[in-house]
Amino acid sequence: MKKLILAAAIVFAGLQAGAAQAAEGKALPARDWSFTGIFGKFDQGAMQRGFQVYQEVCSGCHSLRLIAFRNLEALGFDEDEIKAIAAEYTVEDGPDEEGEMFERPALPSDRIPSPFPNSKAAAASNNGAVPPDLSLMIKARDGGADYVHALLTGYADPPDGVELLDVQNYNLYFPGNLTAMAPPLDEDAVEYADGTPATVEQMASDVVTFLAWAAEPTMEERKRMGIKVILFLLIFTGLLYAVKRKVWADLH
């Protein structure tokens, strides 16, 4: 039994090592997030500020195509606010009675429109590199929220001897260190609606919280349900053990 556990532990450790291999950048600083842990929750204030950062900075290049305006209810907006946010965007609809496509203001049921009509247009506007969609970014990278935050705040001058091409930027945490994305966050790039000072650190933290929600909006429900289910199962399994002992009592 102990040997089985030892074998399992080796396998598990090995798998983590494998994962660490994949992210070749510098070791990630671990951060405290409101949404990690058994009782993790998405901080609504941070999410609203993060959404503002997305709208004003990131959405110039990055799409968020899996999020619909109606999903923003989770950020604390009410129905009217969501209608207003949606109406600021236009989406293509049609064909109309003449067979033509037309533009109309977005509705809550629409998804957030992409900055580019297709990936080729995206690449053409970004020196050949396609800025990836951000809907799942926190789940799609080893290190998750810690990694994305480190990336956003990890731009630095290249070490001696490393020459950068025009289209390259040096980042301490990007695998291979050379990324086509220029540092997106500047001090006070955004004026927060709630008055919070918009330091690079603050904006990075807020947008990561927003993106963590975007990657998995059902996370809070999942953890809430998990606590109830596991509590139930612990009690139930305990009961089943008592039943087993009772039934086997006359044999032992």
Binding site: R70, V243, K246, A249
Partner: protein, 186 residues
């Protein structure tokens, strides 16, 4: 059978031990049943309309472009909805029909509280075809409303069945006026 050398537990033959054992089994069974029900619910509920389907469950329509005597068709929950801006003559005709003449008696006032606007689901209550009469020049049937070409149901200017196999008047969907020119259906 060997007796247990367990000081704390009854061997199970005394009445006390039996009720305790039964209580244990009963509690375990009850929890098991509750757990099974709790597992069954998500499985069943996953088949109910999902969030994106529910988001399209209602639609808002701007009535201002619809002139008197004209009609538009919008899509609601996958079905066509006829919205007609009725003329005074059509309203008069609808309101003067005696209820006895109607296979499915219903007053026009109930169907169209704002008489110039008639809003109905454009699906024949017989077997589901889409009646003609929305466009200029289409067959409107014997009562000036709509006509279903599949099996010959005639609907009047209030969308009520007058002649033919359809059992019910064209359904009026739940809707409300958000203001004088906008309705919210569903």
């Amino acid at each position: 059978m060997a007796e247990t050398a367990n000081p704390g537990t009854d061997p199970g033959h005394s009445e006390d031990g039996e009720t305790r054992r039964d209580f244990l089994y009963l509690t375990a069974a009850a929890m098991g049943l509750a757990g099974t029900a709790a597992v069954a619910w998500p499985i069943i509920d996953s088949m109910n309309p999902a969030a994106d389907v529910r988001a399209l469950a209602s639609t808002e329509v701007d009535l201002s472009p619809i002139e008197e005597g004209m009609a538009i068709t919008v899509l609601w929950r996958g079905n066509p909805v006829f919205i007609r801006h009725r003329t005074a003559a059509e309203i008069e005709a609808a309101r003067s029909v005696p209820l006895d003449d109607l296979p499915d008696p219903e007053t026009d006032e109930v169907r169209a509280p704002r008489p110039q606007w008639l809003i109905m689901v454009g699906v024949c209550t017989h077997l589901g075809c889409i009646p003609k009469g929305q466009r200029v020049g289409e067959e409107k049937g014997l009562f000036g409303g709509w006509f279903c070409p599949c099996h010959g149901s005639h609907y009047d200017t209030s969308g009520r069945i007058r002649k033919g196999p359809a059992p019910r008047n064209l359904d009026v969907p739940p809707y409300e006026f958000l203001d004088d020119t906008t309705i919210h259906i569903g």
